[in-house]
Amino acid sequence: MAWRILLTCFVLNSPLFGQLVVICHADIQVQAMDRATLKAVFLGKMTRWPDRTRIRVGFLKGQPVSRLFLRDVLKKTEHQYQNLWNQAIFTGQGLPPKWFSDKRSLVLFVKNQPGAIGFLFHKDIPPDLVSEVLVFQVEDGDEALVGQPR
């Protein structure tokens, strides 16, 4: 069964938003996903893909794309997001994402780690790796629109 999760529909002002992409490991059986799913994944509330593969989140820290993703997709500030995972770390209630400060390292992580997911601007995907991962454009528009692998 081909699993489909709808990826979203954001009506946003930022001109950068059109460049925002979500990247996934090439073996993930997903063709699109909605915002609620994306949010659940990055907040640690959804930890399995529909085929039961464990989701591995890679998170690019301290970059303009991080602030955009946090503000417009997760509706959180960097401090709030970091605090959420610090809470998990210091109470034994969850394992945080793998943090990255380097874009190439994030893409390599997603390429090599089954179940991995991350985000960045499309222009920041190294050309030699762009065909190695699934790339979903996060689109503006209405709820019925689907983000397709690029």
Binding site: T77, I89, F90, Q93
Partner: protein
């Protein structure tokens, strides 16, 4: 201590039994905090009038994923808060987490007790804006025995933004803890006692949390119950046994986050019914409202107003007035202003001022009530605090 070491050995080498090196891919984190408190007029929970550095916390934890479904971890913790803690290193939590389905996970071990918005994370200063949490459910005198339980917890994420936790287990209580001594002294009618013991038959409860469809609005309800046996001797060799047949605590919480702004509020009640003294109830009540605003990447401002009544049936302090004592012993109201500075990703400094009304959290030992009258003792006083935390 033997039990704690055993827990750690089991957790560390559990992975070996499953064919993994116990030390590969282990994540380590920790923090170290040091504070300074000073108050005027009275001592706040510990001796603060002349200023004290007896406020610090240390934690070191590790966690490891054994496979896609099982992880484990633990945290050593020590604190120094006047007569509380005394820098003894304790096992704060240590658990194995079985998590195959998002709708149902199981944790076994020593687990943080899910109560309100802040109980599970209250040891970690870095998780909040203020130095002191609102002293309602989170009153410092109760901290050592309301923080964690040993047993099991089921948890999961459900549709419609609902999360749940259900737990059952027991709590080990140190009868020499000053917070416990306060309870025992009440039961012993302020007489000296020996050979005290407190045994939790069980503690159980749950928490239901809801991320509502209103963006950023989070609601939570926490409920915990316990059955406890208390015994001690008073001179001359008189034995006393009490049974807390019904301890019930309930907390209703709300948090609303919008951009850099966060508002949270809670209402808390706890009732303790003693089988041997049916007319005597130890019912507490508290509530607070708290606003924080993140001014920039580094600076955060916060303020809360909290109210706590040690006896929720006597807000006016009639019990104390009848004994010729100040009525203000029956409440503690606290208006707090705090400033947090994140110097960098790992280092925090906080400044805090408390405008206090009431004496419920004034340190009994140094509160000289002899010969006091309503007008001769100050109900309004202040506490200032500074604290720094390094974490990794």
């Amino acid at each position: 201590m033997k039990g704690r070491v055993l827990w750690m050995v089991v957790l560390c080498f559990g992975s070996t039994l499953l064919g993994e090196s116990p030390f590969s891919d282990i994540r380590f984190h920790g923090y170290l905090s040091q504070g300074f408190l000073v108050s005027n007029t009275h001592d706040y929970i510990i001796e603060t009038q002349s200023g004290t550095f007896q406020v610090n916390e240390f934690a070191l934890n590790f966690s490891k994923e054994l496979n896609d479904n099982i992880s484990f971890g633990g945290q050593f913790f020590s604190r120094y808060f006047g007569d509380f803690g005394q820098q003894e290193v304790l096992l704060d939590w240590a658990l194995v987490d079985f998590h195959k389905y998002d709708a149902l996970g199981i944790r076994l071990g020593k687990i943080k007790l899910p109560a309100g918005l802040y109980n599970e994370g209250r040891d970690a200063d870095l998780l909040r804006n203020s130095i002191f949490l609102p002293q309602t459910f989170y009153v410092e005198t109760r901290r050592d025995f309301t923080l964690a339980f040993e047993g099991g917890e089921a948890y999961g994420h459900m549709p419609f933004g609902l999360d749940y936790k259900l737990f059952v287990g027991s709590i080990r209580v140190d009868v020499d803890n000053p917070g416990i001594e306060d309870y025992l002294q009440v039961l012993a009618n302020q007489q000296p006692y020996t050979n005290a013991s407190i045994d939790f038959d069980w503690v159980a409860g749950g928490q239901l949390a809801w991320d509502t469809p209103i963006e950023g609005l989070h609601l939570r309800y926490s409920d915990y119950r316990a059955s406890i046996d208390v015994s001690f001797h008073t001179a001359p060799a008189e034995s006393h046994t009490f049974r807390v047949q019904n301890l019930v605590g309930q907390i209703v919480s709300l948090m609303w986050t919008r951009g850099n702004f966060q508002f949270s509020s809670e209402y808390f009640i706890e009732a303790i019914d003693l089988l041997e003294i049916p007319d005597e109830a130890f019912d507490q009540e508290g509530y607070f409202a708290w606003i924080t605003y993140r001014l920039s990447d580094r600076w955060e401002l916060g303020s809360y107003y909290s109210v706590f009544y040690p006896d929720r049936h006597d807000h006016g302090g009639q019990f104390y007035r009848n004994q010729g004592l100040p009525r203000a012993l029956a409440w503690q109201k606290d208006l707090t202003l705090s400033l947090r500075l994140d110097l960098n990703e790992h280092w925090i400094i906080k400044l805090e001022g408390h405008a206090l009304d009431g004496l419920a959290h004034a340190l009994d030992d140094t509160l000289d009530l002899f010969g006091t009258t309503e007008t001769s003792i100050s109900e309004k006083w202040q506490l200032w605090a500074i604290k720094t935390t390094f974490h990794f």
